[in-house]
């Protein structure tokens, strides 16, 4: 999910480390392999179904790992490790309640409709359910935002490479972008998925040593908690829920209602069930049962990710020391500019350097580069699909041949990448654009979830209701953001207190509550307008909506084959983990 708000992208005053020849070997091996894969799968990427949906032949494991990996970018890792240092274990909520329920809901409830409708994209589903208006609005906003986000990520990663290794920004941007453009243009979604599965393995190979060695150094989890409590003079950094009774009681300044309803029920459902970047991976599944199982497998792995993201951030609070032996204090980027200290987002590279010498350092850096490249590949493959099917194919050239659409997919991959590079340079010259881009992305997520879920679960929702609900939710989200972002400091504080329901709320809480309100507005408008307009018949809604669709059997015979069994098992582990770290 969106995460680099915490990443301070100040240009560095000094690089953290340098690569040895063995590190370069490790990095080069990765580049050679991903380019080889692109050329290797090109032969199996001839039709549009093969290029945009990987031939719909991925098993549950491949689709599931790709689904969770598409979200596991390097900025995500570094941003949340920094957030764990800044806010403590509360950052874990973005991996557990902010992901697991939504992923299971996607697999069990929503996937049957995405899958049996044979849609090629989320905007494509909206077209089937609500018509062209909702499709056009969601496709245009998704395509636009995907390119912008890709460019912002590209620039952010180049800055990280400059900070950590002293690499030139232009070098990082072009090497990463050209490699990704080549293998996605050649192999389409199939290339992107293979790379994501590889990246998932690489991230664990490159990052898992940090928590292992860190916990050995700290003397185990119990000792780590005790050391953190001493170093930060508070024991609130290692509790997930017990500090959320008040806004003031925890480092994030957030209330449990914001976490449960804003993050857990709206933002995460919006992202994991309607963001085409992740949903596209599941649409590539080879049958209905695989499509249902893929998000459940993804959820099981997602629960383990805090080990390599959150734990290093917490460990840094206990073990990171200055050369003179005193505790090292990391600071926000704005402070680091004047003091020369390290920033929050440098936690992961700092911990990597602490434990990893030549070879292992190269592996860690390769994992970050792989995460960056697969994130770009995910963005650009989702962009080319939505552009080709939902914009070009819907409004520009409706009756082209299949090979023409594949050609358009390859071309839009290259053009999308060039636009992302242009965005990266734009951000390089005006870094504040980055904050706006992140906010822009958040405008669409919650209302889009409102529209998709109303359409999927409520037969009475009409085309006009769906379109106007989406429009109203998006406009209201933008309105609330403008209300809390611009004006005098007093005005902004008062606006934040109104939107987030408390004068003690921190900016992080604003995002949660804005999502909640915009979702409610979207659903409210959809309901009101739907009752004022004529609904479609059940026959027209067959395959699209609960109550009007006979869901085909997924072929599971034994209990071990049933997705619901695994979903319940993942839920039980999810509850146990939350109680253990309460």
């Amino acid at each position: 999910m969106l995460s680099f708000a915490a990443l301070g992208l100040a240009l560095p005053t000094r690089q953290l480390t340098a690569l040895a020849p063995i590190d370069i070997v490790v990095l080069v091996l990765y580049f050679v392999l991903v380019l080889f894969i692109g050329f290797y799968v090109k032969g199996a990427t001839k039709t549009s179904e093969e290029f945009f949906l990987a031939g719909r032949e991925m098993t549950a494991w491949i689709a599931g790992l790709s689904f969770v990996s598409a979200n596991l970018g390097s900025l995500e890792l570094m941003g949340w490790a920094g957030a764990a240092y800044q806010y403590g274990i509360l950052a874990t909520h973005w991996y557990w309640i902010g992901a697991i329920p939504a992923m299971l809901f996607l697999g069990i409830v929503m996937m049957p409709f995405y899958y049996i409708s044979k849609t090629h994209s989320v905007p494509g589903y909206l077209q089937l359910r609500f018509g062209e208006g909702a499709r056009g609005l969601s496709a245009a906003s998704f395509a636009f935002m995907t390119i912008l986000m890709s460019g912002v990520n590209m620039y952010a990663m180049a800055v990280v490479m400059q900070t950590v290794l002293g690499w030139n920004i232009t070098f990082s941007i072009w090497v990463g972008a050209v490699t990704v453009a080549i293998y996605v243009m050649l192999g389409g979604l199939r290339s992107a998925i293979i790379n994501e599965v590889l990246q998932f393995v690489l991230i664990w190979a490159g990052a898992a040593l940090i928590p292992i060695l860190g916990l050995i150094e700290a003397g185990g989890w119990t000792n780590l908690k005790a050391q953190i409590a001493v170093n930060v003079q508070s024991n609130t950094y290692t509790h997930l829920w017990s500090t959320l009774g008040t806004f003031k009681g925890n480092p994030m300044g957030i209330h449990w209602t914001g976490i449960v309803f804003g993050l857990g029920m709206i933002i995460s459902f919006g992202y994991w069930t309607t963001d085409f970047l992740v949903v596209q991976r599941v649409l590539s599944a080879n049958n209905l049962r695989s499509a249902k199982m893929a998000p459940i497998i993804g959820a099981a792995f997602k629960m383990a990710v805090p080990l390599i993201v959150i734990v290093p951030g917490l460990l840094a609070l206990a073990v990171l020391k200055n050369p003179d032996g005193s505790i090292m204090h990391l600071v926000p980027a704005e402070v680091a500019k004047t003091t020369g200290q390290h920033t929050y987002d440098q936690v992961l590279p700092l911990m990597l350097i602490r434990y990893c010498g030549p070879g292992l350092l190269g592996l860690g850096i390769t994992a970050l580069v792989a995460g960056f490249m697969s994130g770009m590949a995910g963005n650009v493959s989702a962009f080319s699909t939505v552009w080709t099917y939902d914009l070009y194919g819907a409004y520009v050239n409706k009756k082209a041949s299949d090979s023409h659409y594949v050609f358009m997919g390859r071309m839009s991959t290259v053009v999308g990448m060039l636009l992302a590079i242009a965005t990266a340079y734009l951000v390089a010259n005006a870094a504040s654009i980055m904050d706006y881009v992140q906010a822009l992305f958040s405008f669409f997520i919650a209302p889009l979830f409102g529209t998709v879920i109303s359409g999927m679960l409520w037969k009475r929702a009409t085309s006009a209701g769906g379109f106007l609900g989406l429009l109203a939710g998006t406009v209201s989200s933008i309105g609330m953001w403008v209300y809390t972002t611009f004006g005098t400091a007093e005005h902004k504080a008062a606006a934040l207190a109104r939107i987030a329901l408390s004068p003690d709320a921190q900016p992080m809480a604003e995002n949660m509550y804005r999502a909640l309100w915009s979702w409610l507005i979207c659903v409210g408008v959809t309901v009101i307008v739907s009752y004022m307009t004529k609904p479609k018949s059940d026959a027209e809604l067959n395959g699209l909506v609960y109550g009007a669709t006979v869901i085909p059997d997924d072929g599971a015979v034994t209990v071990w084959q049933k997705p619901i069994f695994w979903a319940i098992l993942v839920s039980v582990v999810f509850f146990i983990l939350n109680i253990v770290f309460w």
Partner: protein, 74 residues
Amino acid sequence: MAEGTGRGERLSIWFFVGLLPLLYGLVLFPYGVWEAMGHEAPTVLNQLHPTMWWGLLLLLFGAFYVIRFRPGKG
């Protein structure tokens, strides 16, 4: 059919998943052994020889997948 790489292809996606760790194991394990013979980098807990053991783990993981999903098998 090779899983994940398309109809008619010989190399499965799992073969690639094994190949990269195998190559890394082949690079890191010997280097880690050399480090363990008195050339350790000045990192925290280097007395545990993390490069050698991690390299060995990657080597075994990679070798298992490469052998299990080698071209032509099944």
